[in-house]
């Protein structure tokens, strides 16, 4: 099993979610995060003092999937989260030793 984490643009959550569902993903966990990178935030002014909001609102979408599904999920992100502009985000794939479903205590892939 792997954990596939993607940083995406908040307003694309809907399309990403549907795409993942079609790709067979049954569950995911989403976190509101602030991103720092090539995409620079809007510069704002407050009472005459200009300032850059350097941290851009992003969403982190975590999906735990069986080895077999990893590539499918990754490419799903590449399609559904892309605008082509700075700030589209990244996909991280990391190893996972085990998954347990609390409700049923199932372990491993069957727990996903």
């Amino acid at each position: 099993m792997k954990k596939v984490e993607a940083i995406i643009r908040p307003h694309l959550l809907e399309s990403v979610k549907s795409a993942l569902q079609e790709a067979g993903v049954v569950g995911m966990t989403v976190t509101e995060v602030k991103g720092f990178g090539r995409q620079k935030g809007q510069s704002e002014t407050y009472r005459g003092t200009e300032y850059k909001v350097e941290f851009v609102p992003k969403l982190k979408v975590e999906v735990v999937v069986a080895e077999a599904l990893v590539e499918a999920v990754v490419s799903t992100f590449l399609v559904s989260a892309k605008t082509g502009k700075f700030g589209d985000g990244k996909v991280f794939v990391s190893p996972l030793d085990d998954v347990i479903r609390i409700r049923t205590e199932e372990r491993g892939e069957s727990a996903i």
Partner: protein
């Protein structure tokens, strides 16, 4: 809209009724054997009419100030509870004013002010007297009394917040404004119109309603909080109270200022006449509120280590409730003492009910019930006209009568409702919040917290 008046004819400024009066007199003056008297009569009538106009303006504006207090109560209750129940609390307050106005029009006013044998009125429903008597003052008096009834109703809302079914609350709201409040009101204030209450007959002093409005609301709140029980997790298994911080103390502060503002309509407006007396009442109201806030803050600082905001705010309200009965018959110095005592009292009262495991998220029982009783007693103790045992006795009698009647009827009402339809929401609903289950709404949309996480789909 009324047409612009040209200044040329100053006379025209007097409302047409005043004109009628004058013309009538003019005619009379001609006819009358003694024009002097006729003219005097006409002038006196015109003067009386002017005073009447001033009374209407004052009373309507005072009623409007009291009406805004609904916003103050809503903000305090919403702010001192959790976000997941904010919509429900708003809806309860909206219904207190809406249902309350209609129920008081339909039934309440007649019971409170209709012809009565001392116990409750039996006529003057639905503003029917106007048809026969054609006196517009009925309307001014009615709107002022209506916003008072709505105020009594809304007091309970906070005490039973976060766990009571909306449908049950509506039933309660109608019951209180249609029956419970008016019946007691008829005992103390019935003779303001066509009633004749046994309590006022004894000389009971409650100028603007420390007991008639606030204690009535407060004891209803006590009954409700006892029957519905505390919020999940509010007390540990050993019965130790656990903190459940409100979700927005800025709302609470704004609510307090709005109540402080509206209270001038509540107290000074109770003259329902444009007289010089309103000044003393306003001064007493302000000084007692100020003293209440100060005393509560100091009490909290001494006994709870820090100047707690919600206690200080409860203190200001305690001072306002405390001076309500005696605002017209005590001197400013006494108003300060009344407020100081109320402010200290409310803090200990809140801690007391906490220890008794009666869960009152906003302190309504302490502020309105307990301090309402204190204020009623104080109106006797500090009576500028002098104090006698008889006066104190009557005040105590009124306090007890209010408790017995209101707590009795409301406790029975809530028990019956609870036994039948059930007063409390399910644990699942309480955990998730009443907003979603009862109203299908959320007070704070997704993007209060960010972009559209949990974005909505058709």
């Amino acid at each position: 809209m009324r047409a612009f008046r040209a200044p040329a004819t100053l006379r025209a400024y007097a409302s047409f009724r005043a004109l009628l009066a004058l013309t009538a007199a003019a005619l009379a003056a001609v006819a009358s054997p003694d024009p002097l008297l006729a003219q005097d009569a006409a002038t006196a009538e015109a003067i009386a009419l002017l005073q009447r106009h001033a009374d209407f303006v004052w009373t309507i504006l005072a009623a409007v100030l009291v009406l805004l207090m609904q916003a103050g109560f809503s903000l305090i209750e919403v702010g001192m509870t959790r976000a997941k129940n904010a919509v429900n609390i708003c809806m309860k307050n909206i219904m207190d004013l809406s249902m309350g106005s209609l129920a008081f029009w339909l039934v309440g006013f007649g019971i409170m002010f209709g012809p009565s044998g001392g116990w409750f009125g039996t006529g003057s429903f639905m503003l029917s007297d106007y048809a026969t008597e054609q006196d517009p003052w009925l309307y001014a008096f009615w709107i002022f009394q209506t916003v008072f009834a709505a105020t009594a109703a809304t007091i309970v809302s906070g005490a039973v917040a976060e766990r009571t079914k909306f449908s049950v609350y509506i039933m309660y709201s109608i019951f209180l404004t249609a029956i419970v409040y008016p019946v007691f009101g008829s005992w103390a204030w019935g003779s303001l119109y066509k009633g004749d209450g046994w309590l006022e007959g004894l000389g009971f002093i409650d100028f603007a309603g420390s007991t008639v409005v606030h204690s009535v609301g407060g004891w209803g709140a006590l009954a409700g909080a006892m029957v519905v029980g505390p919020r999940l997790g509010r007390f540990t298994v050993e019965g130790k109270p656990r903190a459940m911080p409100g979700h927005n103390l800025v709302y609470v502060t704004l609510g307090m200022f709005i109540l402080w503002f509206g209270w001038f309509g509540f107290n000074a407006g109770s003259t329902t006449a444009a007289t010089v007396d309103i000044a003393l009442i306003a001064v007493n109201t302000n000084l007692s509120a100020a003293a209440g806030a100060l005393a509560a803050m100091i009490t909290a600082w001494l006994f709870l280590k820090k100047p707690d905001a919600t206690m200080t705010i409860n203190g200001a309200l305690a001072g306002l409730v405390g001076i309500t009965a005696g605002c017209a018959n005590v001197v400013p110095g006494a108003a300060i003492l009344i407020g100081l005592a109320a402010g200290a009292l409310v803090v200990f009262s809140v801690l007391f009910f906490d220890r008794r495991q009666i869960d009152d998220p906003v302190g309504a029982i302490s502020v309105h019930g307990v301090c309402g009783a204190w204020g009623t007693l104080a109106a006797g103790l500090f009576n500028a006209g002098g104090v006698t045992l008889a006066i104190i006795g009557t005040q105590l009698l009124g306090i007890v009568a209010a408790f017995v009647w209101v707590f009795g009827t409301m406790f029975a009402f809530f028990k019956i409702v609870d036994a039948t339809v059930g007063m409390r929401v399910s644990a699942e609903e309480e955990i998730a919040g009443l907003d979603v289950f009862e109203h299908g709404n959320e007070a704070y949309g997704p993007d209060t917290f960010s972009a559209d996480v949990g974005g909505v789909t058709a």
